[in-house]
Symmetry: C2
């Protein structure tokens, strides 16, 4: 880790080239590296530690609502995959095919899972018999493969890590309610852990998942006004259960199909964290997923007692927080820049004079603000500061989302905003996919994000075609 | 979960057919299910929860010695795989080949990782420059694929879950020491968490990993006297680093190759737990990996106050242990058999009279012993009992290992033991792989398990050929 490789000056300013700023951060913060496998990433320790913190928190939230983890095979036989037609059409063009095992060519080719609906359904068909077996609330953490033509670190790659929940319920109402419950689990996680606000709502027919009856979504806005689909939950009705012959004996003693949901979030969330919170000094990590919450940088560390005291503080704080002591030979100035670039929420500076005075200096990553804190009060001060940083990061992101959300009342206004103002556009819509197509074409990529749960009445007619409006839609470009 | 599916009577006694006993437990305890994908398993919630507990404990042990988690792609380009010759020869016959991505046939075929040495090496080549970058101690938790012809749940399957650590070191000595350190991490985990004793030592040249300089192993004995390779660690020397052009500038300012190790354990450990601890009543889980440590079974639960008290106790114990309350309509007798079959370490029975007397009954899975405990002392009693159960399970497994380990001083004796007495055979060996071949052929499958660290002197000559002996070897059949 040669020192010269890591200067902040190497990060392209986001105003100059947002895409380059993003990949600069990914590389310089050592989050991931490319491999020689087309479209596949190596997630490096610092990036993987962020993912582990996300997993750990989300997994506990899943378990709290009764979800159980399982593991399904990574392969799907072609014959099994072909059982649900819309689903096949959605995924077939972008899958990797295993055609040979050992020395033998396969008669039934295997696809590497792009998603595992069919495997869960095959298993559920065997284990669901009675209403007493429902609900079944299974989830798996795994990687999936989609043969992508263009690749961006964490945002779009041939292989990525995710979780996929697939559940079966006795009634359509229960399944729909669970679909919304999981959406709120995601929204809470985004808000309370990632410090990311989002528009949440229902996808239009055109944008819903292949094979789903309804898709719900979390749509956070990146710093540049572009949306990232942050997580989706799907109500499937009984289409897959019917196709896979999943039946159960109901309370009324008749045979029925259960109702299905699925829901997932992926390593894209790391991309969202970078693009919502990062700045021209590098990454800025929300405290609750930061691999290092407090970095301790000794000043004049060769002076007697400095390293000893720094070690003591590291050990004490390490009981409650994720703490790193950097006692390397690099200069304090280099260390400041390095951990700022890696987005560590709090830097703790400790020099001989601080020790004499029984104090240290805390520097916030989000604002740069410095405060001097008595060593006796350190634990409480850091706990409070981490919460403050989280809240401030959330507020800033919310301010960005609000200030870059515009209203369009007619098509001229819509096109003007789409052309001049990066961000979201709120506009009324008639419900016709033809208007979605037209908007996408006329704007070069603006799509409906969702029909938000918090709909507003901005007029009576569709901003695109002028026919009577059915919904307010939030529109925007996306990653 | 129809009641009749779960009767203990459905488990084949182990004395009658050990293999069938094993698969009966796997299925009836709902650990895994077959899928329509040849050789691939569905790990069900109860089985996966055991794996999660194993992962959680092991991962903390890895991190305590400085290991960092990463994620490498699941695909390896054929051209990259071909770089290390011995390694290729070891794995090529048993890999799955991806030959098509989306609509395009691939020019460089991809293999689904059977193990990831080459991907780690490719990455290390980019990030290792100076001795200051060493050691690099990376690990990943993932699934790997080996195209197996015969399959046994958890023991041998086309896809399985594991962790693979791959590390780079400045010197051969440091790498060898780390190889042994990780072996001891595994051995400690087997002893302290899985309650499984094992013979540990070094593999012979013939049995070592493809491409390794030395392979070390943990060899626990299953209840029927058959070995299971429980975990291996490999010292690779600088073969891969040389093949992949990994170099660093040393302390003496010259360019060197680092030295490599790798080490892994897999979902086979679940198979080991079943076959070491299980009995004719089903699974018996060591308390530290049991998904449910204490199951609470209310007796006469319709009587006033019983379910309320059971709920209170569940909530209180749930703070410290993994607890499940079964307040379903099934009879207490059915529940007793069910949780005994699922290997729950402690059953807590609570009825109206118990509540009156401020007490409850604890029943151990390992011995069936019942004790009456005051509700006020419950937490301490359970903590102690879980430790006692762990220790007793370890002692019993150790007794099984000892009583089924025999000494052979000449070849006649060796063949006689191999024929009549299931278990391990300790015998002197000349060091010639020809004797290993001969023994395997003459006995129909007995192989060298390892040269144990605790070697004994049983004579001066090889038990097979009579030439001067170099080592004592532990021999045995294996899964």
């Amino acid at each position: 880790m040669a020192q010269q490789k890591k200067r902040v000056e190497d990060i392209t300013p986001m105003e100059e080239d947002f895409g380059k700023w993003y990949t600069d951060i990914v590389k310089k913060a050592e989050l991931m590296d490319y491999s020689s496998v087309k479209g596949c990433m190596v997630i490096e320790p610092y990036g993987y530690a962020i993912w582990e913190n996300m997993q750990h928190d989300l997994d506990a939230r899943f378990k709290a609502v009764g979800v159980q983890n399982v593991y399904m095979p990574m392969f799907i036989p072609e014959s099994l995959f072909l059982k649900e037609k819309e689903h096949v059409e959605g995924f077939a063009p972008e899958v990797a095919w295993v055609t040979q095992g050992g020395d033998e060519p396969l008669t039934d080719r295997l696809l590497v899972r792009p998603t595992s609906e069919v495997l869960f359904c095959e298993h559920y068909q065997k284990v669901i018999h009675s209403y007493r077996d429902l609900p079944k609330l299974y989830n798996q953490w795994c990687s999936v493969v989609r043969w992508e033509k263009t690749v961006r670190p964490f945002l779009r790659s041939t292989e990525f890590l995710w979780q996929e929940g697939h559940t079966m319920h006795e009634t359509a109402e229960e399944a729909e309610a669970f679909t919304l419950k999981m959406l709120h689990v995601y929204a809470d996680f985004y808000r309370d852990v990632l410090a990311i606000p989002a528009v949440i709502g229902k996808k239009t027919e055109k944008e819903k998942f292949a094979g789903a009856v309804a898709t719900y979504t979390i749509e956070p806005m990146m710093h540049n006004g572009v949306a990232l689909q942050g997580g989706t939950t799907h109500f499937f009705g009984d289409g897959f259960p019917t196709a896979f012959g999943i039946t159960f004996t109901g309370r009324d003693n008749t045979l029925k199909h259960p109702y299905e949901t699925s829901w997932g979030v992926s390593t894209r969330m790391i991309g969202a964290v970078i693009m919502v919170h990062g700045d021209n000094n590098g990454l800025a990590l929300p405290p609750r997923v930061a691999p290092v919450q407090v970095v301790i940088v000794p000043v004049a560390q060769h002076k007697p007692g400095v390293l000893e005291k720094a070690g003591e503080i590291t050990a004490a704080l390490g009981q409650k927080f994720r703490v790193k002591l950097d006692d390397s030979d690099n200069s304090p100035g280099w260390k400041y820049a390095q951990y700022e670039m890696q987005g560590v929420p709090i830097r703790l500076e400790l020099g001989p004079r601080d020790i004499e005075n029984g104090q240290c200096v805390l520097v916030r990553r989000d604002t740069g603000e410095k405060t001097t804190v008595a060593l006796d009060d350190l634990e409480g001060a850091i706990a409070q500061l981490l919460d403050d940083i989280h809240q401030n990061m959330y507020n800033r992101a919310l301010e960005n989302l609000r200030s870059k959300t515009f209203e369009a009342h007619d098509y001229e206004e819509f096109l003007e905003i789409a052309r001049d103002k990066p961000g979201f556009i709120k506009a009324m819509w008639c419900g016709d996919p033809a208007c979605e197509d037209k908007i996408k074409e006329d704007t070069g990529g603006v799509k409906s994000r969702c029909i938000p749960f918090e709909e507003e009445h901005l007029g009576d007619v569709c901003a695109c075609c002028g026919k009577p409006a059915k919904h307010m839609v939030v529109w925007g470009r996306q990653y």
